[in-house]
Amino acid sequence: MSLPLIVLLPLLGSLIPLLCSNRQRNLNALTTALLPAIALGIVIAHAPGVISGEVYHFSMSWVPQLGLDLAFRIDGLSLLFLLLILGIGLLIILYARYYLSPDDSMPRFYAYLMLFMTSMIGIVMADNLLLLWVFWELTSLSSFLLIGYWYQQSEARRGARMALAVTGMGGLAMLAGFLLIGHIVGTYDMQTVLDSRDLIQADPRYLPALLLVLLGAFTKSAQFPFHFWLPHAMAAPTPVSAFLHSATMVKAGVFLLARMHPALAGSQLWLYIVTLTGLVTMIYAAYFALLKYDLKGVLAFSTISHLGMITMLFGLDSKLAVVAGLFHIVNHAMFKATLFMSSGIVDHETGTRDIRKLSGLRRSMPMTAALAALAAASMAGVPLLNGFISKEMMLTETLGTGILGGLAWLIPVLATLGSVLSVAYSLRYVRNVFFGPEAQELPKTPHEAPLMMRLPMILLVVPCILVGLMPALILTGLLDAAAQATILSPRPELHLSLWHGFNLPLLMSAIALAGGVGLYVLRRNLFSFQRQFPQRNALMIFEHNTRRVLHWAQEAIDRLENGSLQRYMLWLIIAVLFLTGSGLLDLEQLQGPLPLQPLDGLLIAGAAITILAGLGTAVLHRRRLVSLMMLSVVGLMVSLAFARFSAPDLALTQLAVEVVTVILLMLALFFLPQRTPKESSGGRVVRDVLLAAAFGGIVASLNYALLTRPLNSISGFFLENSVSGGGGHNVVNVILVDFRGFDTLGEITVLCIAAIGIYKLLNRLRLFMPSSDSEGRPWSKDLHPMLLGTVSQSLLPLALLVSVFIFLRGHNEPGGGFIAGLVTAVALILLYIARGVDWTQQRMSYQYQPIAVTGVAIAAMTGLGSWVFGHNFLTSAFGHFSLPWIGEIELATAMLFDLGVYLTVVGATLMILANLGKLTTRHRPSKENEKETV
């Protein structure tokens, strides 16, 4: 159970710094360090077990449909990385406390750092491929935040963006690879995948899966040709670089190679791709490390180079090579973190990182100089330090490889060349910065850094020396356990020692040291050689390409999306015609087996009126008022059709909606032109008529085909259970408020949102208000005729009574919240029309927004209420009660829900219509808003 805590504690830890103020720096650092320290304690408690060969698992289902489990493991490999991440992470917290200036937000820094640490821990502990990927992408995101920490600087922003783009894309490729592996194996469980090596490698999908996973690893570990993001990530604060590029971020890539080694390695494909990529990266980056003037630039390229070396070791077909790779991961993390910290101190104390300006700093900061020199010696592979031993192992393994056949000698030769370069740039780093004459004209006068800033370096350099002197004593157990997790099958006997006798690798080491010193002495020739090549800035190239892609995408979008609604409609309709038309072509005949029902005169007359009115709406559309009248005829005929075909609820709803729609459109028409100018060319009209006819034909055919075929409906269920399960006889209403209540809740929410949207759209809307109609006749002076006013006023209580009646009986007779709400709304709107806004406003100063929102809230609360009684959301309860004098009545919670529907419909309808009406008066929404805010 303590396994998830290791991930969870740092995650919680990312919140803690945010509670502190920026001024309490010590407190901030201490509290931040607390939780990862506990996590480190838990890890160490597991260490003896893991070293003795145990593997700890923890698993919890997360999204079982996807095969994504919250599964963690600690094996030797995880342990090795956990110790590095948490150990170096704690040192970085200490270092950053003194590195950050008071202007930098410390809480934000620590929060990002802990988030990043969490995601790294997640990667190394994940026991499920998909979970690993989740944490993998989380490292990309959190490293984006860290690299862009100084977001005021354009360099930092661009560097962060590039790192995110490259590693994020790699992560997506890796996900695709994992999915393929998951399909081959049938599960995403790590152990099963690792055990299925033969199955995976025999599958034809092995090649794409391998390439995709490697793409993820290589982008993260900055392998050639994806290395270019890493030097630009140096825009980050130095503690971030020290953490990301020593123990974490870039190590995630090589971790992935080690983790997937049992499943993916061993093929010729793996051997060639991984080994050669690593080798090329190692030499390429080492060469450029030698040429950089920025201290962090040197370290960045040397990091890429060392990662190349580790990658190469994981690629080689020897088990000891894997051990050497793991060993070098540890060594590199220690000396590289130290070196980054030293560059941070130099930067901090002198104000520059330019090697050309720096010189002779050992006088002013002897301690830092000594520590940096030791770490650089380890990086160069000088004997008695840890870097020497892993480099010796590396050189040994390159000798025994069977890759490249007759050209196999190339590998050790190139590896030695890489080592030569490594010695040269290490020497340059130390010699040029700390030795030589005292530097002149530095931006600041250098002093030794505070002890607390040097302490993390001391804590890292001491193990470098100890491991260098007695490697077997310190690391055998840990490396053995890690190797066991990486190689699985019989692992080689591990002999870590300083002295292997006089042999070829020792000679190669000697050549590397001597050659490196020689190269350093002759470096001026190299610099002048390099000067003949034009300088290329990866960031510029990357941004140039990004812009080109964006430009291309924008052009493509512009071509498709040119702002013409008519064209969008056209494409939409063509797609619909094509899809439905092809479906109809597949039918053997249009008419189905059902017998046709007889016609009568009334039906024919009704149909004729509807068709004529429909056509009239379209044909007369340029005379808008006439067209609107035609539309209302269609609406009424539809309502009658519903009544004719046994749907009284629908007929009532349609009737009420028809009234409000026509009033709404009339009001809108008041503000819009009364006529549509003749614009469409003859060709366009013909085209549209043909399209419309084709569409109508297809709709009619589809409808006819549907009506004449038997249908297996699920309505039987509703009919059977309406009375017994929902307590209502009106099945339509029971479906609305009970069976499908959740749908209705969604519907009224949409209605409410639409009304609020309209309210906002009307806010501060300035419109031209015509003083006469389209024929130039002035409006009638009698705006509110007496007769209409009196009638509507006396109708109001009646209409309200009717709506209450319709509402109450809704559960058992045609009616319900929707219809009752519409009736109420219509009655109130009639009052507005008859008496005017001023008059109505005085007597009824309701705000309609709260009514609509209350309605939705009541409906939602009713649903939630059933949770209180331990039922599912929106389960309804009902019962029969008998009241004195009135008799037996039935009450259902569904009625409460229906009340919510009622209020929403009233509120929303009036919010739309009343506010639109108010536009014509001084009560326009904008003014009321101003009043409210004053």
């Binding site: 056209l570 819009l672 009506l707």
Partner: protein, 116 residues
């Protein structure tokens, strides 16, 4: 009767679509409303056309109209109203802010789409 019903639906859909393809906002809104009538009728008819069916549950009655499409269409009618309202007010807002009631983006190419 089925053929007649289908014909009505088809004509309404065709008229609505023709209007929806116009270049000014008001006819488009009217067209969408007409289209929604057609769609509602279509949806409603998926349960079959029932003459003299019982609307509410009664003992001994077995001839009911299919309630499910009715429930769907009932909410569709109300939502359709909300949509009509929203689009017509949007049209007014566009006219208020940009002084035009054309549906096409005025910044877009003036030429073909507009004139034709």
């Amino acid at each position: 009767m089925e053929a007649l019903f289908a014909t009505v639906t088809g004509f309404l859909a065709a008229s609505g679509l023709y209007l929806a393809l116009r270049g000014r906002t008001f006819p488009v809104v009217v067209g969408l409303t007409l289209l929604s009538y057609a769609v509602n009728l279509f949806l409603f008819s998926t349960g079959g056309l029932t003459t003299n069916g019982a609307a509410v549950m009664q003992d001994g009655v077995t001839h009911y109209a299919d309630p499910l499409p009715q429930a769907l269409v009932l909410t569709a009618i109300v939502i359709g109203f909300a949509m009509t309202a929203f689009s017509v007010i949007l049209a007014m807002r566009v006219r208020g802010d940009q002084g035009s009631d054309q549906v096409n983006d005025q910044r877009a190419e003036e030429s073909k789409e507009e004139k034709s």
